[in-house]
Chain length 341, copies 2
């Protein structure tokens, strides 16, 4: 069991890597807890939940919207939840993001904790206090910053995860390594087979190191005034790709990282060999690295990116493996880069 | 022009009593501002607005809901608002509460300021960083704490306010005096005629003193962990009355204050003479003080009150004019009090 602390403006959070859902009662007040999960997680693991009232929401990115948030509010109201109630989200990123937002706004904020059930949620969505939902197809347009009281990363829950979901989590782990942890990057290069086999000791290291990297960045810049933007490496193009359809988050981020690395090389910041290492690692982890299609869609989506300010985009680029920089890039230059490929 | 500063956990706010909407450009970034107002305010004062894009929402309590918030999000998206955009709410409490919540959650929070156009908004809704909307008829069930950058209290806008709206604001001013400012209470007792005539110098004192009282309490307890609950004086019963229909907020609070004072006397905290002074002042300001009807409705609504914890209610009672205390009162005792009258 590894504990990693994150301190945010509105409270602090403890990530517990290797803790199990069976011990949830040690962290949440038994008589005031309401569990919120999705249909899939409930079917797989409902019998391990504590005997608390449970709200079940739809699963998948399509459920991450304001209608689901309203449904949660209404169910909390029906359960007579009050300010002493405590919400526990059990699920992947969609559940944690949606429930985190609902809990942060119901009665102007009630306590909540997460049990992250997917690799992606364990290393990314559940760490750092960002929550929120999509709006009319645009990702994470609505939300707040608010730290959950705790995040349990139960590694046993990964056993039932489909391989494509595992790969989505691996994409974020590669991202953390690429922007801030060259040692973790080399570990991934040297242990890709064990990683793909979900070998327990290897997974614990990956999750804990990855959380630690993200936590260190969030501790220094919770509100994304500066350094935290590095965590968006691969996400600017990734989100645009995801929006234009057909790709999972991690797959989109994988391609987005390849694009951002190529842009880094083009702008003279990164050696081509380093970009090639990134592409090779992603391929070894069975993540897609191919050139995207439909650039017009992507450019349109980039204009709605939250990281846009006026006609510039904050783009996260690499200087080397393990070191990211944030550059303001004019949208026009991004357009030229994409259309000239 | 009187400036009153409020510092909250997520930022600080300056209330400008006596400033005018014509000088809004001095406070909001001209090229990044989006004004949000309601139909009525737009019709009356739209020509005084700065030349910014304007979003118009429905007016009245019925518009204070999640659908309106979603409409604002969608219009902001259509206007290509980004993190550097700045929202200015121009209107009464409904507009400030709804827009404040939308701005605090759009892109996880963009900057906002208020121009409070009603007396109630000037002395209450716009001060203190609470925002939010109603849910299925339950008041303020959804929201966050977030300070607006500034609040302009333009006293000229009060000229077009219907008398019943003026009285709603007066109820909150009486509340601030009753819980924390005996001098203001005496001033109100001695100047009720000038108050009802909206005499400018008298109104500036009322608004500024009232804001100062609320700001002092909010500065000490933004998150309503303790003292801030005093601002709920008259609101526990008031909200329940308002929900059971037909009463304006200020009218409901006026009756709620009479009820809370009676409960204070009943519990041996307050002298009957002080309760009588409160009733007399409210009557002189043409506010209703009569005994409520439909107690069963009220009791049902009290059970859904945000201030309930388990089977107790945090009730704000008076010890004297100018001094409030917070008591946990068992819901059963409240029931007995109401049904035995």
């Amino acid at each position: 069991l590894q504990r990693i602390d994150i301190s945010g403006l509105t409270g602090s959070s403890t990530v517990l890597v290797g803790e199990t859902i069976a011990r949830l009662v040690d962290y949440a007040p038994a008589d005031r807890t309401i569990v919120i999960t999705d249909h899939k997680v409930e079917a797989l693991y409902g019998r391990r939940f504590p005997p608390s009232p449970t709200i079940v929401i739809g699963s998948g990115e399509a459920a991450k919207n304001l209608d689901t948030v309203r449904h949660i509010y209404q169910r909390l109201l029906a359960l007579e939840a009050d300010r002493s109630s405590f919400v526990v989200a059990v699920g992947g990123g969609v559940v944690c993001d949606t429930v985190g937002f609902a809990a942060s706004t119901f009665l102007r904020g009630i306590g909540c904790g997460f049990v992250a059930s997917t690799l992606l949620a364990q290393v990314d969505a559940s760490v750092g206090g960002k929550n929120g939902v999509n709006l009319d197809g645009y990702k994470n347009m609505v939300g707040v910053f608010n730290q959950p009281r705790f995040v349990i990363c139960d590694l046993e829950l990964l056993d039932t995860l489909p391989p494509e979901e595992v790969r989505c989590g691996l994409a974020e782990i590669v991202k953390h390594a690429a922007i801030a942890d060259a040692a973790l990057f080399r570990f991934l290069e040297n242990h890709s087979a064990e990683v793909l086999a979900l070998e327990p000791a290897v997974m614990e290291r990956l999750v804990a190191d990855s959380v630690r990297t993200k936590a260190a960045i969030v501790n220094r810049d919770e509100r994304e005034a500066g350094e935290r933007r590095k965590l968006n490496f691969g996400h600017t193009v990734g989100h645009a790709l995801e929006k234009s359809g057909g790709l999972r988050h991690g797959e989109a981020v994988s391609r987005g990282m390849v694009a951002a690395a190529a842009l880094s090389v083009k702008m003279g910041l990164l050696e081509r060999g380093a970009a090639d290492r990134l592409t090779a690692l992603l391929q070894r982890l069975e993540l897609p690295t191919g050139v995207w299609h439909a650039p017009q869609n992507i450019l349109e989506a980039l204009k709605h990116d939250k990281k846009r300010e006026g006609d510039q985009l904050h783009f996260v680029l690499l200087e080397s493996i393990g070191r990211a920089v944030i550059e303001r890039v004019p949208i026009r230059a991004v357009e030229q880069f994409f259309t000239s490929r």
